[in-house]
Amino acid sequence: MKNKRSFFQKLILYTAILSIAAPVIVLLLWSFASRWAWPRLLPAGFSLRAFEELFGPHSPVMPVLLSSMGISLGVAVLSAAIGTFTARAIALYDFWGKELVSFGGILPIIVPGTAFAMGIHVVFIRLGLADTVLGVMLVHIIYALPYTVNIMLDVTRSVGDTHEVQSRVLGVSPSRTFIHVSLPQLMPGIMSSISMAYIISFSQYFLTLMIGGGSVKTFAVMMVPFIQSGDRTISSAYSLLFLASTAAVFIMIEALIKRFAFWRDKTE
């Protein structure tokens, strides 16, 4: 009886994993398919047509991909920094308006993006921020902050301020205390905040379209028309590049964490 139930639960789990993996595998097949007509279950042939088009000499893909990654990395680092400050204030201090701050923090997740985007558009036009990279980065940061604040809040609460207080009591200056005592403990959280904020910024379509107004081209904005057009080979190749570049950034961040841990061990 017990085995039977455990079998049923494993079935649920592996069905889920299979349903998650299947489209990703099909995406790979489609990006390299040269012909895949009805009713075949596998492509009739493979080619590099899509990638030749993406990486061709006159293709705007690489420049847009790189500048888009730059924008998102900038957004990620800033969101992680602001998230760290904000979480520190909420976790370690008592102040007036604390509940309001933690409530307001969740709103961008819940409020519809179209309402905010269309509302802020006019404001940004007046401020001269519409159609600028800075404007796009600002709205991306607003949408990444709920996640980074939440991650940093967990980490800051679990680290606490006991080590910091000790360091201060022993006469270490606040800035040195922060760099040598607090920051190393917060680093894993900061790195996962950066990853999360990166993926949110990099995936943003509607906000970028509204605020960037076509003059700020990100990879997401560039690839949506291909998905709309129905060319499955090209749009699969775009999606694959999207996922691969994200994975590369995540691996880079992971490597930085390891490097940081190594450096910390050496200095201690």
């Binding site: 099909v26 204030a89 519809p112 600002l138 939440n150 009591v169 998905i227």
Partner: protein
């Protein structure tokens, strides 16, 4: 000894004055961005009431809301968005909790399997839309599989799941993303409840099913409720999937709002904003409930630790 004491008291003395100001200094960038956020939302609300001085409209009125709720075509948009959000989030919550329970009970809650479950959370909606096209269109892989099995006569016999008024494709695409989200969101709380009180109940002779429905699930409810509210609000107000997979008519609210917004006749703009505000008010009501749940958990027994 005296020197140390002096240092301690001066450090504490400084703290006393500084500590009042410090949190506000730390919060400054957050507050400035928050101000921008509320400017955006406030402006959307103001325009929905017909206040757009640039267009010579400066009288506050509720007439745009009234018109939307009276025009069948626009009311349909409201219904479409509600239906998509409700069906996808109820199904995703039930199935997500089931998946989470399976992960907790098989003890397979970490490693590569957890990474696989987390993957859809990281895949953007436009790529999910592409997945939906490759699988669910009438010449997609599902139709092909059924055809090869002899269960389908021709492409046309496969039900129209995309670009159709039934919105099935949008809902299934949301499920692909949201079931894992719910499972992951609830996992921390459910595995801690299950490994303590759940096992205690089983040791006292309760069956596993009974333990789950009477102990583990009720105690995991705070996380389940929050996950539901987040995905409901998101599916109600999100643009990408209805835009890429939805029917021409009626369009979901965010898509229809954008159509009104970019209409060259600027007098359509208040309609766009009124549609946005309908979404805004409903989602704000949802977030008020979320906040209330959050506070209740803080006051309750430790549930606040898992708020996320």
């Amino acid at each position: 000894m005296a020197r140390l004491y002096g240092k301690v008291s001066s450090a504490l003395g400084n703290n006393h004055i500084m500590r009042k100001l410090e949190p506000y200094v730390l919060l400054l960038p957050f507050m400035l961005l928050g101000l921008l956020f509320f400017l955006g939302i406030g402006n959307a609300l103001l325009q929905s009431l017909g206040y757009i001085p640039a267009l010579g409209l400066s009288e506050l009125t509720l007439s745009y809301y009234r018109e939307i709720l009276q025009k069948p075509a626009l009311l349909d948009s409201v219904k479409v968005s509600l239906a998509i959000a409700l069906v996808s989030s109820v199904l995703a919550t039930v199935l997500g909790v089931l998946l989470c329970a399976a992960m907790v009970h098989t003890g397979i809650a970490g490693g590569w399997r957890l990474q696989a479950i987390k993957l859809p959370i990281l895949v953007p909606h436009m790529v999910v839309a592409l997945f939906a096209v490759t699988f669910m269109s009438q010449n997609g892989l599902l139709a092909r599989t059924l055809y090869q099995l002899g269960l389908l006569g021709s492409q046309g016999d496969f039900p129209q799941l995309l670009y159709d008024q039934n919105n099935a494709g949008i809902i299934i695409a949301y499920l692909w993303k949201e079931i894992p989200f719910v499972a992951y969101f609830v996992l921390a709380l459910m595995s801690s409840v299950s490994s303590t009180l759940g096992e205690a109940a089983e040791n006292l002779g309760a069956s596993r099913l009974r333990t789950f429905f009477h102990i583990t699930l009720p105690l995991s409810m705070p996380a389940v409720k929050k996950a539901f509210l987040i995905i409901f609000a998101f599916a109600f107000g999100a643009y990408e999937l209805p835009f890429l997979l939805g029917a021409t008519l009626p369009k979901a609210l965010p898509v229809q709002a954008y159509v009104e917004y970019v209409n060259p006749d600027l007098r359509h703009r208040p309609y766009a904003m009124a549609m946005n505000s309908i979404m805004l008010l409903l989602t704000l009501a949802i977030s008020a409930v979320y906040y209330w749940l959050l506070r209740k958990d803080f006051k309750g027994t430790g549930g606040g630790r898992y708020e996320k």
